[in-house]
Symmetry: C2
Subunit: 324 residues, 2 copies
């Protein structure tokens, strides 16, 4: 949650003149999105999300992110569409930062999604993967396998204290796991554009239906099945650390109703679950150690992902997740 | 800026059943209001502000605050009206905290209000004072003259370091000023309900007109002219610390177009400016020393109010502010 940049009324009105969106009625900073400053605003023509891209988003990636959102929205996926400026551009500068105006999506992020929501999420994820096939910009994963070892090293050697209950220490635990992932990384799996951050915060539901996917700022070209592994970690564990295999099953049923998984993708699910647990564990660990000064962000402790990773280490077949 | 309480979709939907406001479409935490958690939300019947009252607001004061908002809105002041529940109540409990649903007001808080805005603010402030005369609940000022000495003492003796440029030290400076205020406090001035926190953040404008006043959670019975002194401090100083007397004049013209000030009120303006500078100086000082843990609040340094106080100490007649 973050509002980093304070936008003045004057600067905003000037910015809005680049668009054909009418006259400003109000604008309020919202506590949404960790990487950017987000505002909800209304004009006499409608409501919008105004996003200012802060330091952690590379401006060079914006044509990919905003182009992808545009591509998916035009292909009828329930996603937030960037509004085109009068000159056709999808972003320009506000308060010295790249900024875009995004269509406002109704719906609420669910704290306790049910099995039907998981099925709907599965369908939407598969449709995302399929509809993005015709999107013609590529972006490598900036937080993929090759990036974890350097990120781990940036966390330093004094991390054992963060998880004192791990036998042999957290540093050793992560070091061994990183080696395992390097040595056992699956090859030849289908790849394409994935969202790469499909957490419950980023999926809206309304009247029992999935109404929108937001926050495309980790999207990249990656193994499709890796997205599914992220979702198992982010949506299918109970608060007490137990896996809810009914949710896993519902999600996979939804996904496979729109895109059939190959046997190799299913076989790789366990290592990809370990891998995606590692990815979020490492960024949370890093953020926990390096709380940005004057940020409104409350970093999340890495504990949940340490626990998930330990869970996956004991799984030796994808069927144990409840996948059919 | 603060969102303290995380409201689940389930809890919110249950809460909304107490009202006749239709079905929830979306709800987003906004970075507004220091004392409370605020959300903007929409149903199929309209948009609302949802406020959860955190520890710093005393639940016993809610009938005063919400009753006042209701009273003023019914008397056509541009203020946010609390929505009545089906049983007529103006608040109940959400996530274990008192919570109210408030009418949504269009408009933006101005970073650089102009003279016309100050005139409009003057008119609205006078109308606030006059329309609140018929409101029949009373609330003493919880941050009035009698409260400053104890608040000052709670800040401790090691405060000089916060303003190293003050000759004789900040502690001595404040101690002397508190004594001066005690000894010279004006008596027999007209009193009534004031907003007591009419900062630019709390006043919305739209299409060049004042569209709404929000955040009534410091409102109390107090000297009317004290409100005007707060506004001089909050609206009429330039960033470089200079007083903009044109703004002061525009504000007072607006105020006096709706409520004529007595000579005694004008004569008391200098000491009330010193007093209101002291009040915000002390709370900012206290908050600066005691940043609440896990808060999303960025405390404001007291510097601006130290500077204002020093400015007022050199004034000996209200006409020097530009007041006619």
């Amino acid at each position: 949650m973050a509002v980093y940049t304070d936008v003045s009324d004057k600067a905003l009105e000037q910015f809005l003149q680049l668009y054909n969106v009418g006259q400003l009625l109000w604008c309020k900073g919202i506590a949404e999105g960790v990487e950017n400053s987000n505002y909800i605003m209304a004009t006499d023509k409608g409501q919008f999300i105004l996003t200012l891209y802060e330091a952690r988003v590379n401006e060079d990636d914006l044509p990919f992110f905003l182009g992808l959102m545009n591509h998916l929205a035009k292909n009828d996926l329930a996603t937030a569409r960037p509004i085109e400026q009068n000159d056709g551009k999808l972003y320009s500068t506000l308060c010295g930062k790249p900024a875009a105006l995004i269509e406002f999506l109704d719906g609420v992020a669910l704290k306790t999604p049910n099995n039907q929501n998981l099925f709907q999420l599965g369908v939407a994820t598969a449709n995302f993967h399929k509809k993005a096939e015709t999107f013609n910009i590529k972006r490598p994963n900036g937080l993929g396998l090759a990036d974890w070892q350097p990120l781990f090293e940036k966390c330093g050697n004094d991390i054992n204290i963060i998880a004192p209950n791990i036998k042999g220490g957290l540093h050793n635990f992560l070091s061994n796991e990183l080696q395992f992932l390097q040595e056992n990384w699956p090859s030849n799996l289908p790849t394409g554009v994935i969202h790469a951050d499909l957490f419950p915060d980023n999926v809206f539901f309304m009247h029992g239906e999935l109404s929108g996917i937001i926050d495309f700022y980790f999207a990249c070209n990656e193994i499709y099945a890796y997205e599914l592994a992220i979702i198992i970690n982010a949506w299918c564990f109970e608060k007490n650390g137990e896996l809810n295999s009914t949710k896993v099953r519902a999600f996979f049923r939804g996904y496979q109703s729109a895109r059939q998984l190959e046997a190799a993708e299913l076989d790789a699910m366990v290592i990809l679950c370990r891998a995606s647990a590692m990815r979020f564990l490492l960024t949370r660990l890093y953020d926990w150690i390096n709380v940005p000064e004057n940020a409104l962000v409350i970093p999340k402790k890495p504990d949940e992902y340490i626990r998930n990773l330990q869970f996956h280490q004991k799984i030796d077949n994808y069927k144990q997740y409840g996948i059919e």
